[in-house]
């Protein structure tokens, strides 16, 4: 959204509400506009909950995916910002909880690192091989759509157009599958359930 016009906050909020109402009817342009305008609001809501800068992008991504899934619950007669902030706050709390779980593990890892004897080259190679094996196993356990997206786009580094042409999937679906796959892998390797 352009800042050039600089309309007041109330007008901006009404504009976002109108865009979302149009998006519910299938207006893609309005949808992309309201999502883009939502990013700073999501960041502000996440910061209010105490999310650190490094994690803001994760919260933005998760909130946008949630907005997409529950966009039918928005009532255009009510505040769009309140609706969005509630979803963003919830996703921020989820992120803080998962960070808390990760943090408790990382303390142990650090202690282990400090007290562990230096590994020789053979051991390091074996560990790398083990990690690669774990990654292959984690990718294999993903749902088919996500596995396909991460293998084709992430590992083989093929273009969206190529994969789309070959698999017949829409590029949008491929991108969302890639985001979800990365999230699942992150969760798995950071020790979340």
């Amino acid at each position: 959204m352009s800042d050039a016009a600089a309309p007041d906050g109330d007008t901006q909020e009404r504009q976002r509400a109108a865009w979302m109402a149009a998006a519910q009817g299938g207006d893609r342009r309005a949808y992309e506009r309201v999502l883009a305008a939502s990013v700073p609001l999501i960041r502000a809501a996440a910061r209010r909950q105490g999310v650190v800068v490094d994690q803001l992008d994760d919260v933005v991504q998760e909130t946008l995916l949630t907005v997409h899934r529950v966009r039918h619950t928005y009532d255009p007669s009510r505040s769009y910002d309140a609706w969005l902030s509630a979803l963003a706050s919830r996703r921020a709390i989820d992120a803080l909880r998962s960070q808390g779980r990760r943090g408790s593990r990382e303390v142990h890892d650090e202690l282990a690192y400090d007290t562990h004897a230096d590994a020789d080259d053979a051991t390091a190679a074996a560990e790398r091989e083990q990690e690669a094996g774990r990654l292959r196993e984690a990718i294999a356990s993903l749902p088919p759509g996500q596995r396909e997206a991460i293998e084709q786009l992430g590992l083989k580094e093929r273009s969206l157009a190529e994969v789309s042409a070959e698999t017949g999937r829409q590029t949008g679906a491929l991108k969302v599958n890639l985001h979800r796959a990365l999230k699942a892998l992150r969760a798995r390797f950071h020790g979340e359930p």
Binding site: A23, Q24, G25, G26, R28, Y31, E32, L35, A36, V39, D57, V60, Q61, L64, L65, T66, H68, R69, V70, R71, H72, T73, Y74, D75, R78, S79, A82, W83, L84, S85, A86, L87, R90, Q170, T171, G172, A173, L174, K175, V176, H179
Partner: protein, 219 residues
């Protein structure tokens, strides 16, 4: 400062997947839909038992009628609160909506109970009669709760346990109100205790299961 690329690419891909959606109907309309099912059950019970015995008990002890009215209003307001809590951005304070009618229901029931203690002329519920009430309330609350959960399937309650407590309260209150139609005796201590136990069981089961049943969109 430019926004990072990740949201831009995600926004574009979400835009590509956009399809028109059917908005969630307003909370009052969904409450009305659920009340229609309760009204159908009430009509069935009235056809079977008739309104006579209920009216007779009510004229003999008006506090029973007041308790019944309290239960009906509790059912309506708790269902309304449950549907409202299913919309992101709505205040969690909606949980207080059923409180006044809940106090009326519990207060009037307690008054009937005290009357029986002071002048026990009415028929006092025996253990097996009271346990019939327990079974009636619980067995009717199950389908009424299931219907509320089904009506909330497209909603997104950000506080699922509070929404589930409202569902439990609505279905238990509606069941207790429906029981008034075919209740064979006036409210007494044993019966009141059974009612309280039944309502507590229904609310508790809903609260425990709520988080799992009510947030498919956030998983």
């Amino acid at each position: 400062m430019a926004e990072p690329r990740l949201p831009e690419s995600l926004i574009q891909s979400l835009g590509e997947q956009l399809t028109p959606v059917r908005r969630l109907p307003p909370a009052w309309l969904r409450t009305l839909g659920w009340l229609l099912a309760v009204a159908v059950i009430a009509a069935g019970l009235l056809m079977h038992y008739g309104a006579g015995p209920m009216m007779h008990r009510w004229s003999a002890a008006p506090d029973i009628a007041i308790a019944g009215v309290g239960a009906v209003i509790t059912a309506v307001s708790a269902a309304w609160a449950a549907f409202t809590l299913g919309v992101p951005g709505r205040s969690w304070r909606w949980v207080w909506l059923p409180l006044p009618s809940l106090l009326l229901w519990v207060g009037a029931s307690g008054l009937g109970c005290m009357r029986d203690w002071l002048g026990p002329t009415a028929h006092i519920a025996k253990f097996n009669e009271a346990s019939d009430c327990l079974i009636f309330i619980i067995s009717l609350s199950v389908p009424l709760s299931a219907l509320l959960i089904w009506l909330l399937r497209r909603a997104c309650p950000l506080r699922p346990v509070l929404a589930a407590i409202m569902i439990g309260l609505a279905s238990a209150a509606a069941s207790a109100a429906l029981l008034e139609i075919c209740h064979a005796f006036a409210v007494a201590a044993t019966d009141l205790l059974t009612h309280a136990m039944a309502v507590a069981i229904v609310v508790l089961v809903n609260a425990v299961m709520g988080g799992r049943l009510l947030q498919p969109a956030l998983k």
